[in-house]
Amino acid sequence: MLAKRIIPCLDVKDGRVVKGVNFVNLRDAGDPVELAALYDREGADELVFLDISASVEGRATMIEVVRQTAGEIAIPFTVGGGISHIDDMKRLLRAGADKIGINTAAVRNPQLISDGARKFGSQCIVVAVDAKFNDAWGEWEVYTHGGRTPSGIRALEWVREAERLGAGEILLTSMDADGTKDGFDIRLTRAVSESIGIPVIASGGAGKKEHFYDVFTEGKADAGLAATIFHYKEMTIQEVKDDLLHKGVEIR
């Protein structure tokens, strides 16, 4: 049986780690390679780098961060943020990334999912979905461009389409829960998990170690992702894992 995964996320801008609360108010929290190695030692099962650089130079820096990280850590890692071409994917995978996260570009051009899956394998393609509850619809809507732009697409339909096109995993961020520290969005995570057969990484809202237990059991997630709480040492990965182990959840 596969172990549930705990995944710290590092938002990287121009080669430095930053984390936005509700996607704004960035704070500098360190060197990505060093932080990645630290999380590996602390028991992280995987890492996600989200590149939020806007410039060409910033993106070039990310390749170097990936190359150095691949040499330092012994766990798989995903790189996402602003990736819109097969060539971008190839460069990052060659630099040592294990998986590529695509978001806005996949919504705009869903064929990117199938092209990537065919060329590199489904296991390399993570489709990141930012979802927010739409009261008028009574269900969740996909947002693009770092959560700024409503797409008019229903999240549950989109994840099914992503799976059909060959996505290997869904990285699901609840915009409603993100930054609240009130816990993961259980309803959204469960609805998505029950709609598809590929693994779901739940993101947004982790504030206490118990939140991971909730999202793995009630939310049916395969992995839980968090940033702030780990970066600012509000809890350690080991504390989260001890809690899960104590409650009988299979972890590494």
């Binding site: 995964r5 489904s122 296991q123 590494r252």
Partner: protein
Amino acid sequence: MATIAIVDYGMGNLHSVAKAVERQGSEALVTSDPSAILAADAVILPGVGAFGDAMACLRDTALDAVVAQAAANGKPLLGICLGMQLLFARSEEHGDHEGLGLLPGRVVRFTGGTYKVPHMGWNRLRFEQPESPLFAGLDEGHVYFVHSFHALPERASDLLAVTEYGGGPVTAIVGRDNVYGMQFHPEKSGELGMQLLRNFLKLAETTVRVS
């Protein structure tokens, strides 16, 4: 210091494997040069992608014979992921392909249905032969798998460790004499992966001392 040849035959990224070997204190040589492979203290055969493509690349570069020669010379050889599958005689991945044939057995697809394919993530090893030098000083634990096909060794004695997936045991580590294979990625498997790699590299150091 032992020199470890990492066979570069155009399949996949070898950077992580090379760095992992270096972190264990050995010299990693990513190479497609037959004489360098035959002169190394141990050989690692990595690989991601499709079995048929990989065998075609190995044959086109004549590295299939070089790897077989290294194994015949008694050099420690470690196949990783697809590299492990290539050690076997046959694979049914997209047709029927002949492998290196260093271990009897074949590679088959997960049947799927009630479980997810690929088998991807952290799964627990169970040592079938705890006395193997690969497991010296180690406890069973989780390692990182990514694969859609799995090996069925013909001899039970070649099966060193398994993991449970899809309702049954799945080949995780194989070995006979100096030929070893790991279905998971030791270079992505945290501390346990590093320790398994270190134990393999110790075999190379032993070779250095004897020769």
